[in-house]
């Protein structure tokens, strides 16, 4: 944990959702690759279900 400052400094207005450096030890951490892999997989599953054409 840093000095408790916002990581972006003055650039903190960049997004609608704000992320800080602070993290809780209990938090569930997700790897970004997992999210991307899940997104691709989910897309393909829905695509296949559509193609099977029920």
């Amino acid at each position: 944990m840093s000095k408790g400052q916002n990581s972006g400094g003055l650039m903190s207005s960049a997004g609608l959702v704000r992320y800080f450096d602070a993290e809780d030890r209990n938090a569930i951490r997700v790897d970004p690759k997992t999210v991307v892999a899940f997104g691709i997989l989910f897309g393909f599953v829905v695509m296949v279900l559509n193609a099977v054409g029920l």
Binding site: N6, R18, I28, V30, P32, V35, G43, V46, M47
Partner: protein, 490 residues
């Protein structure tokens, strides 16, 4: 026991994307950003399983700023995130949360609350979309084949768009932590540029509308007949109709105004307390709060319209009182409360001489309400935005103090710096917010290329400008690793 202690076990356990350890090379950052963008486009092209037909788009004209696409698994787009952000801004701006974003413990709670609210909004916007009206009609064939009934298929549809909504949230987090800029910004730019390119170059078979350039090729070669340019009808067609000259001028004007306004600033001189000769400036930009609060005002208007359309689909045309709203075949309000609160989206909405169904005074009332909403709403949300993102006088004074700078001629004291800041920041924020609101309404009234809407264009240009600044800073750090410590990230 306050709400903080009660909600702590839940809020601290919200899943989040891991932060990169140490510095991420610029190329890798670009890689993540591009990868997420590709994934976003891929998902917007996948139709939800179990739909009978495309259905009416509940987002309607607001689609260009809310992202996603009708009937796809990204049906909800960034809608839930934006709506959750409105709630958080209002709570934070009115100081009802009691969270101090300088305290690590409260930062964790804030992040958790943010996620929880987005999930709540996915349910609040997703459920009416699926279960009310013909926005996402369920396929009865599938219901028979699976033997789960229409309700079962609707649950399946909702599950898919809910997963899509949560994916968007995590994709935004990946871009914010591992990439350049923010995911929300990226998705807005992606949608607006797609529409803009379509509006410039698209032809009938591709986009369903004739784009600007093909239309002019047609006008010059004579395959599109606009009549003589010397008559009133011919001029009307060149400027407002097929020729779209006014739309082109508006689009270019918005680009120019935003880029110019980004450079209009009041600079407060700073000098270092100990290092003689080290000078700096603190810029208070005219659009200090950036254009992002604007999306919140538009989303508020969008939510009022959703309410109207859902009420209409539930009560039916006969059950809905006329003072509340009368809808045409396309699902557009034509009279009543929801007509007046529907923002102007295109020139055809207010040009009474082109033969629209409303009386001039009704149109004038609608324009007046839209203007008031955007100008006052823009100013209010800009003020809240500045407060909640730590750009207010108190927070910036603390930052300047911590960096060892001071305003020459004043005592080195955060309260003194705050006093000086208070002379500029609140005024500039209000003026900037109101100005951006006014611009957005004017751009919509005059029309834009590809119908991207004034707000969409304002957002896209200012986000791109910010992105450019960030990339420049990023490259500077890449070339001079020493700079990294100056910008404060390790």
């Amino acid at each position: 026991m306050g709400w903080k202690e009660a909600a702590e076990p839940l809020l601290t356990r919200m899943p989040s994307v891991v932060r990169p350890e140490g510095h991420v090379p610029f190329k890798r950052k670009l890689g993540w950003t591009a990868g997420i963008l590709v994934l976003y486009f891929f998902l917007t092209n996948i139709t939800v399983w179990g739909l009978a037909e495309q259905g009416n788009d509940l987002f309607g004209q607001f689609r260009s700023i809310l992202g996603g696409s009708q009937g796809s698994i990204l049906q909800l787009g960034i809608g839930p995130i934006v709506t959750a952000s409105i709630v958080l801004q209002l709570l934070g701006g009115a100081d009802l949360l009691g969270l101090d974003t300088d305290d690590p413990r409260d930062q964790i709670l804030y992040q958790g609350l943010q996620k929880l609210l987005v999930v709540a909004m996915i349910f609040l916007t997703g459920i009416p979309m699926v279960f009310a009206g013909g926005f996402l009609p369920a396929s009865s064939n599938l219901a028979d084949a699976l033997g789960v009934g229409i309700f079962g298929v609707q649950v399946l549809i909702f599950a898919q768009i809910a997963v899509g909504g949560i994916l968007i949230l995590f994709m935004d987090e990946i871009v914010s932590k591992w990439g350049v800029g923010s995911g929300i910004g990226l998705f807005i730019i992606a949608g607006v540029s797609q529409q803009l390119i379509g509006g410039l170059f698209g032809w009938q078979g591709l986009t369903g509308n004739i784009g600007f350039l093909p239309a002019w090729v047609g006008i010059i070669t004579g395959s599109i007949d606009i009549g003589s340019p010397l008559t009133a009808e011919g001029l009307q067609a060149i400027f407002m109709g097929q020729g779209q000259l006014i739309a082109l001028v508006t689009t270019v004007l918005i680009f120019v105004v935003v880029v110019y306004a980004e450079s209009v600033r009041i600079e407060i001189p700073l000098s270092h307390a100990r290092v003689k000769g080290a000078r700096g400036r603190f810029p208070v930009k005219l659009i200090y709060a950036s254009v992002l609060p604007m999306i919140l005002v538009r989303a508020l208007q969008a939510n009022i319209q959703f309410l109207g359309r859902i009420l209409q689909s539930q009560l039916g045309a006969a059950g809905m009182p006329n003072w509340l709203g009368v809808y045409n075949q396309q699902g557009q309000p034509t009279a009543g409360f929801f007509y007046y609160f529907n923002p102007i989206q295109a020139p055809g909405d207010w040009m009474w001489w082109t033969g629209i169904a409303q009386e001039p005074w009704q149109v004038a009332l609608r324009v007046a309400i839209d203007l008031t909403f955007m100008v006052i709403g823009g100013a209010i949300f800009a003020v809240f935005w500045v407060e909640t993102t730590g750009m207010g006088p108190e927070a910036t004074a603390k930052q300047i103090q911590n960096s060892g700078m001071q305003i020459p001629g004043f005592r080195r004291n955060p309260q003194v710096i705050e006093k000086v800041m208070e002379r500029y920041i609140p005024q500039v924020t209000v003026i900037g917010g109101a100005l951006v609101g006014l611009l957005a309404v004017l751009a919509n009234m005059l029309g834009t290329i590809g119908g991207v809407s004034g707000t969409g264009l304002l957002l896209a240009v200012s986000i791109t400008y910010k992105l450019y600044e960030e990339i420049a800073e990023e490259q500077l750090m890449e070339m001079h690793p020493m700079m990294r410590s100056m910008f404060g990230n390790g």
